[in-house]
Amino acid sequence: MSFIKGWAASAVIAAGLATASTSAHAESATLKTVQDRGTLLCSGHNGSYFGFVEVNDKNEWKGFDIDLCRALTVAILGDPDKNQIVPLSWAQRFPALQSGDVDVVIKATGWTMGRDTELGLQFSLPYFFGGAQLLVRKELGIETADGLEGGVVCVQAGTTIERIVADHLKTIAIEHEMVSFEKTAEVIAAYTSGRCDAYAAWGPSLAVIRATQIEGADEHMILQDKLSSEPISAAMRQGDEGWVDIVNWMLAALIKAEELGVTSENVEAMTANPPNPTVARLLGVDEGMGSRLGLRDTWAREMIATMGNMGEIYHRNLGEGSPYKLPRGLNNLWSEGGVIYAPILD
């Protein structure tokens, strides 16, 4: 699709010139479009993607990625419903972004070099880390992959998981046997029949399988080890720095809120009586949070009041509050042993 690349490249150049001619604090063309339109256009899915993009019984979108889109909508337009979730297939998401069918792609999208450079995209800071993980029986009594010495690991053939697991277990010097199967159902059958000690797959998918496809799900657990890491970010068109800033600080505010203990429950109390200057700034008690981005000063407060902080969004869609009960692991805050962090809010 070289013509898309060509188009993207010329767009980048054009946008670059446009940015150069405006003032130092980037004014976002995308933000202006969204505000004029009164709706934010986000990416949906053609069907559903467990935990991230789903449809509820009332024909409405829900999920982790959908909640981030709604949070962004509150930040910009003050109402979580002022968005339009455009159903897109995986292949369609980047062309749709380039052609302006969506303003941002928040759709379990990995940050890769090819997308960042050749496709002319720009990525936000990662909001989720997915990777290969291991499902085991609790009766094995192990906490990490170190306990798998001499065990049998089952995987689906033809995926990158196979190599990743082999690499990881070799690195930590664990003797093991690898058995691969063609179909997901076959791996599940092999695992449940006791032929394998562990089942390796992409973490979020594994959580779904554990919760729904394996009898007595409570007797099984997903090990905390992440054998690989794939940073999941929001994707935007290159050349609109101001827009990237908004998406980045939307994510940062959700993370910072969790770090500071601000939740949808206590946000009003915290606003009335901020415990420290950072909270005061985050919640718009002190001025400055909004004008730097071209938004209202209270955008983060409204966003947290409606959508909750990053921890609440995770809990609701992927964690204990969901059918998946995916342990947070790497997706915890840095202070809790994860890798999720926010830039400094000064």
Binding site: I4, W7, G44, H45, N46, G47, S48, Y49, F50, G51, E54, V55, N56, D57, K58, N59, E60, W61, Q84, V86, P87, L88, S89, A91, Q92, P95, A96, Q98, S99, G100, D101, V208, A211, T212, Q213, S322, P323, Y324
Partner: protein
Amino acid sequence: MIAAPAPVNRLEKLKKRAFATPFDTVISILVLLFLAWLIWTAFDWGVLQAIWRAEDVALCQEAGAGACWSVIDARHRLILFGLYPYDEHWRSTLAALAIIGTVVLSCIPWFWAAKRLIPLWIIGFATYYLLMEGSLIGLNQVTTDKWGGLSLVLFLFSSVILLGMPMGLGLALMRRSRLPVLRLVASLLIDFVRSLPLLTTLFTAAVVVPILLPDWLQGDKIWRVIVAFALFFACYQAEVFRGGFQAIPAGQFESGKALGMGKWQILWLIVLPQVFRHALPATINMVVVTFKETAVVIIIGFFDLLASASAAFGTGEWVSYYMETYVFIAFIYWAFISSLGRYGEYLKDRMRQEEH
């Protein structure tokens, strides 16, 4: 007229066909037993042991539980209406009925005249659009990206046929034209479109066109897709019509000329009725295939029946019951397509009677 054959005793006939020799008898009995087992298993799974209500979903996990129709009970509105807003589903229902009504009415011979058919289709489609979109008749506006499920499939299907049929006939006539330019254009277009997969054509219309064309020329994605799909249909249908034309002996044209009829009179009164008759079986085939091919639009982000079905079981609570969901939509497809097939049979019978 050939005399009808004397009625044969059915039992005799069956005996002769299936139980003539001991070997035949054994095979027949085995096949019957297998069929009985198959039907019983399906019946036991789908009806006797089935769980019907959404509240009883816990029972589905018990040993010996059959089909878990709870997923349909809980999610049928998602399957049937896609992303259409929940409180407005009555509109989507009425709109779908308007399209079904239009199609059924235009199948009745009384409507087979331009003066009746054209107003019927205009009214049918206008009703659909006004109800679904809503803002023109004072209802809440629902944009086309929220249209989905069965209503969307019916709309796509009937629009494609409605646009594609005349386009196909036009292309077939162009390809038979005496003017080399028309002939060349038609052949090039037909061969080009037929050499591309449907998916590529639709992907181009949905994704690539907006990159290449300015905003004001694009139109809504759904219209671009319908036009592209109709073009695809027309190119195949043109070849079906061409086959119909070739089956007509040259004498028919010559007799028309001898009677002093003009070119278009010959075409309209003598040739085309016969072309339609010859092309009918292949046309019904095309129509049935098109109905099923509407499922391809899932790839360009439309929430058709298949997409909304996969969304219906695409959540932690319901993922185990994908089989029931697929059986449900298979039944919907079967109901529509077998009706189309039945109607095709009726048409063929009717035309055969006209010939005698």
